[in-house]
Symmetry: C2
Subunit: 124 residues, 2 copies
Amino acid sequence: METRYLGKHLIAEFYGCSRDKIDNPEFLREILENSILKAGGHIVGRLFHRFNPQGVTGIVAISESHVSVHTWPENGYMALDIFTCGSEMDPWVAYREIFEKIKPGKVKVIEINRGELKEVKAEA
Amino acid sequence: METRYLGKHLIAEFYGCSRDKIDNPEFLREILENSILKAGGHIVGRLFHRFNPQGVTGIVAISESHVSVHTWPENGYMALDIFTCGSEMDPWVAYREIFEKIKPGKVKVIEINRGELKEVKAEA
């Protein structure tokens, strides 16, 4: 029998990113939120912070879990996480949307399953 | 030569958690923030949301990246992520602190490296 899980988590490394894009919290917020809506997700809150002298942390909480970015503009690097549960949101749709907007020079992405169903308790 | 990275990311599955603990956003916020401070991290913002009828999403943004939880109280399951960069914060100290407070029945945890240094651009 196929193992089933509560959620999916895409862990992506974007290398060779434009400094202008990944050091701009407004731009990042817009593309994250648009990617979530396009993928069928539901936003419940967001938290963006720009560090001095550079770098952005951006996290969007969604009913389906979260999407986050942490950026190192000085290195052209952005860490992207897309964690979803349920069947309404497709994390890969959000991924492709963000990829198209950032256009990194090189990526590495893995998909991890979260919350193995045979381990979780039945509802009390 | 040893490969070096910008960050570390602990991805933990906590099974068999008490519903009272993981359905309580105030409790989760307190243990996450305390664990971060104890581990040497620096909090820059937080976002907690309780879903109806149950479940909590909690994210604390830190100078070192983020700590997040997503909980399924009806299944006794909590997904925990501790993503840190730099050498000031030890993610395993935060992990152990959260583990001790939640006392899950079973855990699965992996450590992933983020941001391979040979791939990042030198500072412009």
